[in-house]
């Protein structure tokens, strides 16, 4: 009875998870290299940035918003951190915190434009996407190649108890987001304004605060994703994160969160992000022709989501 309900209400993430398992099994037959600890860690690291961003995106989408600026915000963190530390000699830890703070402010600005400027989230964050990217190009234009110090790279290369740090960071973020959404007042209010803003308003929920918070949270996730990215690449390329918005949104939706808001869960997003990472890693490992990769990835994703939906909404 209880299990039955859990299954019923999480049908999409669960079947997406099953698809993931099927794909993993298939790939481990196709290549001996696939199902090795080192490759699994590999996948975990590769998934981490998209996953961290997608967590923030999940929060925003549950509140019936959307955030297209994630890629640019990620680049913003990286550039601010790099310009401060590499070019201006500020301590890397301090510089990172400033980079993160700036990005949270930018995210918050998204929320303010959406809430008080009444600009549809799509346009507001599309605007921020352009503006933040411009800022990144401007502040890094004098410094074509900035590399981070070796110590900083530990964030990408280090391990704790043999587990790579990026995987641990994503794990922590997943737990934090689960707790936020499931066990805090703010989380519940996020579902409420996404499900029916008017009913939420008439229940005394502070809509502006909740809405703006979702975009700040997304900003924070982008910032964290940016730090991991920076450590992974060891540099501050101004084009970092281009096109990430579609990947993050795709991970969220594959996981069963609906773009119309009010429903969705974090574990689905985790499955979605891993599904994407596994497919992309697997296709490289089994040497699928690059021309075919787009076709295969597109088909698998559509197919996985289709499986999880068929019969689900029968009356």
């Amino acid at each position: 009875m209880k299990l039955d309900r859990i299954f019923r209400e999480n049908r999409q993430p669960i079947i997406a998870a099953l698809s993931l398992v099927v794909i993993v099994i298939l790939l481990s037959f196709l290549s001996e290299y696939f199902l090795t600890v080192s490759n699994l860690f590999n996948i975990g690291k590769q998934a981490s940035i998209n996953l961290i961003i997608a967590l923030g995106m999940t929060v925003v989408i549950i509140s019936a918003g959307i955030d297209l600026s994630v890629g640019s915000l990620l680049a913003l963190t990286i550039s601010v951190t790099a310009v401060l530390s590499v070019a201006n000699g500020i301590n890397i830890v301090l510089a990172s915190f400033i980079g993160i703070a700036v990005t949270i402010v930018a995210g918050t600005l998204n929320g303010i434009i959406v809430q008080y400027g009444k600009v549809p989230a799509f346009i507001a964050t599309l605007g921020t996407m352009g503006v933040a990217r411009g800022v990144v190009l401007l502040i890094s234009s004098g410094h074509p190649s900035m590399s981070f110090p070796a110590g900083f790279l530990w964030i990408a290369d280090g391990t704790i108890a043999d587990v790579p740090v990026p995987i641990l960071i994503s794990l922590l973020m997943v737990i934090a987001t689960v707790v936020l959404l499931k066990y805090t007042r703010l989380g519940r209010e996020i579902y409420a304004i996404g499900g029916n803003e008017e009913a939420a308003r008439l229940s005394g929920i502070n809509i502006p605060l909740v809405r703006i918070a979702t975009y700040s949270i997304s900003g924070f996730c982008c910032a964290l994703g940016g730090i991991v990215f920076a450590a992974r690449v060891g540099a501050a390329p101004p084009s970092a994160g281009m096109g990430y918005e579609l990947n993050a949104i795709a991970a969220v939706i594959i996981g069963g969160t609906s773009l119309s808001g009010g429903r969705g869960n974090v574990l689905g997003t985790v499955v979605g992000a891993f599904l994407m990472a596994v497919i992309s890693n697997g296709l490289n490992i089994i040497d699928v022709d690059p021309y075919w990769q787009g076709i295969v990835i597109g088909s698998i994703i559509v197919f996985a989501v289709m499986m999880s939906n068929l019969r689900s909404s029968q009356r």
């Binding site: 590999n42 074509p144 190649s145 590399s147 690449v233 060891g234 490289n284």
Partner: protein, 290 residues
């Protein structure tokens, strides 16, 4: 003589950038020629997905390939993962866009700055040293764009009669070149010559001039792509700066093979090899058209 070697060429873009596609194709073909199994990889994402290149190299390390020819998307971003690959015993050769490290088997490339300068010199000679020129840049902030722009700007200083009247950014595509050129023709109709930082850009820009009945404007491209050659043959583009993909690939793979034969030692391998960019005009173009 390189039988059974597994190799890879990793480029940035196998979809939009004809020159990178050309490099990839050449590498696969040259691999066949010498009996090595070379495969081409590029990130799924669009412009500037360095992170995707890193993931690919991580996957290649997992697969224990023998060598990687890397056309890096960024000068420093790929250094950490290249270090890892080298440490794993994979021969990494850096090709074309130069990495900010010496921990590779060898670097084989073309001096993009020199190419930019060659383009201006050619334009100056065609205009008799006097005229107005426009620059259509590639993806703003991209390292190749930065080098080519620098070379162009330095080159232009040498020709006091040349005036740069417009400088606009575009992605590396034909339609962006077309659109930017349409706008330049509105604001600076007096322009005499245009340098596009890739053949795509030059071809698109030339198309805009032709539509506007301004076929006399001189266009110079960069890369030596088939599209560019065709346009030169058709008289729409005056010249391109050719980078010999075949030669670069050959030098790169040979260096990798030699490194493996040497028991992973760089002894006797040139740490860097530059091949000169060549100017291709209608006089030379026929030999390159496929």
């Amino acid at each position: 003589y390189a039988a059974d070697l597994k190799g890879a060429i990793v480029v940035m873009d196998l979809t939009t950038n004809a020159f990178q596609i050309e490099m990839a194709d050449q590498a696969v073909a040259y691999g066949k020629e010498i009996g090595a199994d070379v495969k081409a990889y590029a990130p799924e994402g669009s412009f500037g997905d360095y992170e995707g290149q890193i993931s690919i190299i991580e996957d290649l390390i997992t697969k224990h390939v023998d060598f990687i020819v890397l056309v890096a998307g960024h000068t420093t971003a790929l250094v950490p993962v290249v270090d890892k690959a080298m440490a794993a015993g994979i021969a990494v050769v850096n090709m074309d866009n130069r990495l900010n490290t010496n921990n590779v088997v060898s670097y084989v490339g073309v001096d993009n700055g020199q190419g930019g300068k060659m383009a201006v010199d050619y334009i100056a000679s065609k205009l008799g040293g006097v005229g107005k020129i426009a620059l259509i840049q590639g993806e703003t902030g991209n390292p190749v764009q930065i080098l080519r722009t620098k070379g162009f700007e330095l080159g232009a200083l040498v020709h006091p009669g040349l005036e740069v009247v417009a400088q606009q950014g575009a992605h590396w595509t034909e339609e962006e070149g077309l659109k930017v050129m349409e706008d330049i023709l509105q604001a600076h109709p007096e322009v005499n010559a245009v340098f596009g930082e890739s053949d795509n850009l030059a071809v698109g820009a030339a198309r805009a001039a032709k539509s506007a009945g301004r076929s006399e404007i001189i266009f110079v491209g960069y890369d030596g792509q088939q599209g560019g050659y065709q346009a030169i043959k058709a008289g729409e583009v005056a010249a391109t700066i050719r980078m010999d993909a075949h030669k670069m690939v050959q030098l790169s793979i040979d260096a990798a093979v030699q490194y493996i034969k040497n028991n992973k030692s760089r002894d006797g391998i040139a740490p860097e090899t530059y091949i000169s960019p060549e100017l291709v005009t209608s006089a030379e173009v026929d030999q390159y058209i496929k």
